[in-house]
Symmetry: C2
Subunit: 205 residues, 2 copies
DNA sequence: GGTTGTGAAGTAATTCACAGCA
DNA sequence: TGCTGTGAATTACTTCACAACC
């Protein structure tokens, strides 16, 4: 039975929430507590969890580490997903060190920038390359997710190179909409869209 | 008749798409063309548009500027929404100049940082203030949307100050989930959530 | 041929409500 | 009493299909 997309998105967010709870020293939680923190209603959370394999115990709540495992497993977040960041301006360079990117399931294995000079000047724990090596390195390092943080005018070209090199997912922060063929998952994160959504919710209701 | 939330989100994205089309010199478009660019099926787009006031002409397509107006109007994106950015690290400082933030409907009227030194050194077209003035300036400048770009450990405190000062919407880029009382719209943009979603779509299906 | 706009039909997601358990 | 887990009921959304139009 496949998991509905809204459920997947909520589970991703709940996973982050659980990590925060764990960092704060908790080892158990409940659907009502998760409602307070995540904002999702508790019955929705429980329904979402019904797609997992018995993550909790009827009567008591959820053991956080077991719950995290159950979510990760059901979402297929198991192996190590290898990612790269293209464009090392302010946004890109902050992404290289974004907390949580280099957790168990993800690893940023390369950064790219057009400017060879910038690459040589930056010091980073991530290996850096000039942009023209993008396709070569994606193949060589078996990168499956590309993160785009370049200016709008080159974002589409970068995306195309990623797709040609065989990337299976793209996270695009450039203010341009990237479309990809069937089989490549794209998420466009365009900050203005969120601002507009917020303004629309504020002004409309 | 209120507009369903999925429709609102799509309309926000389509609005950006229209701006791109317009920049490229187009003045007309159609639902099938928008399908190609946005990825949403054309019938969904047309259904979404049915919540607007006759944006197109049966038979021919849509006049982009009229369509933009109809969407903006229906979403309540009419006045000027005043926003501020808190935290002027790499992410925050890039947001200050983010293209499209300072378009017709939004205006970034203030930037804040804890470090007085940084504020004095940065040159920006946006007025900058030390963090302790946050509440004062929000009131004074009638800011209704707060953008959070501070580290995780202070994000919740910043959000609380914004809420206390009367902000009506929060766009949070810190890797912490901000929750707000009824009446304050929050969007948490946590990059890891998108990575997880992508990985889950890649690995699962 | 192309297009929009929309009721009707179909599908999907949410919410309810309660049994079963600690 | 407070919790989970889940069928059933409800609600919401999407897709279809076609009339009206260029």
């Amino acid at each position: 039975m496949s998991i509905p997309e809204p459920t997947i998105k909520r589970l991703c967010k709940i996973l982050s929430t659980l990590e925060i709870l764990e960092q704060e020293g908790n080892s158990f939680t409940s659907s009502s507590k998760l409602e307070q923190i995540s904002g999702f209603p508790s019955h929705t959370i429980r329904k979402d969890f019904s797609f997992l394999n018995n993550p909790g115990r009827t009567g008591s709540g959820y053991e956080i580490s077991a719950l995290k495992g159950a979510i990760s497993q059901s979402l297929g977040l198991v192996g190590e997903n290898r990612a790269c960041v293209v464009g090392l301006g302010r946004l890109g360079s902050s992404l290289l060190e974004y907390p949580g990117f280099n957790n168990g399931n993800f690893k940023i294995v390369a950064g790219f920038d057009r400017s060879v000079n910038k690459i040589e000047m930056m010091d980073s724990t991530v290996e850096l390359f000039p942009a023209y090596k993008l396709e070569e390195i994606i193949l060589q390092k078996k990168i499956d997710i590309g993160i785009i943080a370049v200016p709008a005018d080159v974002a589409v070209a970068v995306a195309q190179k990623m797709i040609d090199a065989g990337v299976r997912g793209i996270l695009n922060f450039a203010p341009v909409r990237v479309v990809a063929p069937e089989g490549v998952v794209v998420q466009n994160v365009y900050a203005v869209d969120y601002l507009r959504f917020i303004a629309s919710m504020i002004n409309q209701r």
